[in-house]
């Protein structure tokens, strides 16, 4: 004869090991002896309370009871599976880099540097993330919006200030071709974008690529 505590331990073990939610009827079958449905239900409620404050939750679904992770812990789990991490496209990253290093900038400025038009999706992606916002308008025809990075951007990248971005001086010096790294960057720019190559014959046109792409 199992004590209520022992029954609870068995229920917990079975639910943790189960691949599918388990119904009360199934849970009762775990035992040799007769355990009332009410008892099982009461012990499940106790279990649920026992797990309060942990990263895993005992939930009662239409198809039965199961343990599942709490949404608040998703960010930790995501870090453990970096292969599932979505990545921004080169277009988004380059746009962000231009805004970060050259802020405040207009869309036209970004297009000048990138040599391609900037799709509204890219700007929207970065605004939605609250990484950039409009800080004003340039006093030129059309009064284009001036974009800059936000505090959230700094927080999310773990920076205290823009000063902590990799220094620009070094990069601009490398532009003169004095730095080996420029060579490397050049080499990279010819090898890395190979996947974007097809149809690049008319790449001097618009930036139609997806703002963010899931890495497969």
């Amino acid at each position: 004869m199992l004590s209520p505590h022992e029954v609870k331990v068995v229920l917990e073990t079975a639910l943790l090991a189960a691949e599918e939610p388990m119904q009360i009827a199934q849970l009762r079958k775990l035992f040799d002896e007769e355990i009332g449905a009410d008892t099982v239900r009461r012990l499940l409620e106790e279990l649920r309370a026992d797990w309060a404050g942990r990263g895993v939750d005992l939930v009662n679904l239409a198809s039965g009871w199961r343990f599942q992770t709490r949404p608040e812990f998703q960010k930790y789990l995501d870090r453990a599976n970096p292969e599932k991490a979505p990545r921004y496209s080169r277009a988004v990253l380059e746009t962000l880099a231009i805004i970060a290093y050259r802020q405040p900038v207009t869309r036209g400025d970004i297009e000048d540097i990138r040599g391609v038009t900037v799709s509204p999706n890219i700007i929207k992606t970065l605004e939605a993330r609250a990484w950039i916002d409009v800080v004003g308008h340039r006093d030129t025809p059309g009064r284009p919006a001036l974009y800059a990075t936000t505090k959230t951007f700094l927080d999310d990248l773990g920076l205290r200030s823009l000063q902590e971005l990799p220094p620009l001086e070094e990069i601009s010096r490398s532009l003169e071709g004095t730095h080996v790294s420029t060579q490397a960057a050049l080499a990279e720019s010819y090898t890395a974008p190979a996947r974007e190559a097809p149809g690049a014959g008319e790449a001097v046109g618009s930036d139609t690529e997806l703002a963010a792409e899931q890495q497969t």
């Binding site: 943790l16 090991a17 691949e19 895993v56 939750d57 199961r66 343990f67 599942q68 992770t69 709490r70 949404p71 998703q74 789990l77 995501d78 599932k84 991490a85 979505p86 990545r87 921004y88 080169r90 990253l93 380059e94 962000l96 880099a97 231009i98 970060a100 290093y101 540097i113 990138r114 040599g115 993330r129 999310d156 990248l157 773990g158 920076l159 902590e164 971005l165 990799p166 620009l168 990069i171 601009s172 490398s174 532009l175 071709g177 790294s181 420029t182 960057a185 050049l186 990279e188 720019s189 890395a192 190979a194 996947r195 190559a197 097809p198 149809g199 014959g201 008319e202 001097v204 963010a212």
Partner: protein, 271 residues
């Protein structure tokens, strides 16, 4: 099937086999085994090594000093019994029989006074028997280890994916790399300033690419429109050169003065 009435328990306290309810307490000394039992007995051996090891262990013989005559006789009687009952006998059993007889005959030869272990004709057999026995016991021990899926399960709690879509992570390094790429591209572009002239070249490039879009060959001359004047001819020619430089088209000529053909380069990615 008659085999079904036979249960086999050699080596245990129970009868070695039960044939139609009658207990067989041991492998009989005269080795008369009813065909039914024999079939079942054989199924329980993993091959001649196993059978031989069983005969030796069952009779409590010294593995390092196997009485070859006795063991060979027993083994052969088993094999004979199997043949009598028309059991399909695996080649391995016959091979072992031959090996046993060979060892036995070599043991009958006059032996040198000091027999070292290596000279013992049984040495190789003993080595193999011991190795097999060791593995056989190890296999039993492996089977006794708790096994995932059989004796325990790995826990894998359901991950609740109700949270909003996962956002890409970016760090400062990514930005630096993006910036470097931009600078590198900017440098490249400096050499190819998109001027008005260049634009007209690019326009012709697009035109030529359209002409070749079906993937087939065109004769070089077809790409030009001489009636539009020398300037256009030069620009078209520059466009072809630029397309070749950018590996977008390929130009072939089988031999000097043969027609020159042009076609699109098929990139693997564009397939």
């Amino acid at each position: 099937m008659s085999g079904a009435v036979v249960e086999l328990h050699p080596g245990s306290e129970q009868p070695i086999a039960r044939v139609r309810g009658e207990p067989w307490l041991d492998v009989p000394a005269d080795l008369y085994i009813p065909p039914d039992a024999l079939e079942v007995i054989l199924e329980n051996f993993e091959g001649p090594m196993d059978l031989l090891l069983y005969l030796i262990r069952k009779a409590n013989l010294d593995v390092l000093d196997i009485p070859m005559a006795r063991v060979t006789a027993q083994y052969l009687e088993y094999v004979e019994a199997m043949r009598r009952t028309n059991l399909e006998l695996a080649a391995e059993y016959l091979l072992m029989a031959a090996m046993l007889m060979e060892i036995k005959s070599r043991m009958l030869l006059p032996r040198p006074r000091h027999v070292t272990e290596e000279e013992d004709p049984r040495a190789e057999l003993v080595r193999r028997l011991l190795e097999y026995e060791r593995i056989k016991l190890a296999a039993q021990k492996l089977d006794r280890l708790p096994q995932r899926g059989r004796d325990f399960d790995a826990i894998e709690v359901w991950i609740d994916q109700t949270v909003a879509e996962r956002l890409p992570e970016v760090d400062a390094r990514d930005l630096e790399n993006a910036w470097r790429r931009l600078l590198a591209l900017a440098r490249v572009r400096e050499h190819h300033k998109v001027t008005r002239d260049e634009l007209s070249v690019r326009e012709h490039m697009t035109g030529i690419l359209r002409q070749l879009a079906d993937g087939g060959f065109r004769e070089f001359g077809e790409l030009f429109e001489p009636w539009r004047g020398v300037a256009v001819l030069v620009v078209s020619f520059l466009a072809v050169l630029e397309l070749v430089r950018e590996s977008l088209i390929e130009v072939t000529q089988a031999e000097p003065y043969a027609p020159i053909y042009v076609k699109l380069v098929r990139h693997a990615e564009s397939a």
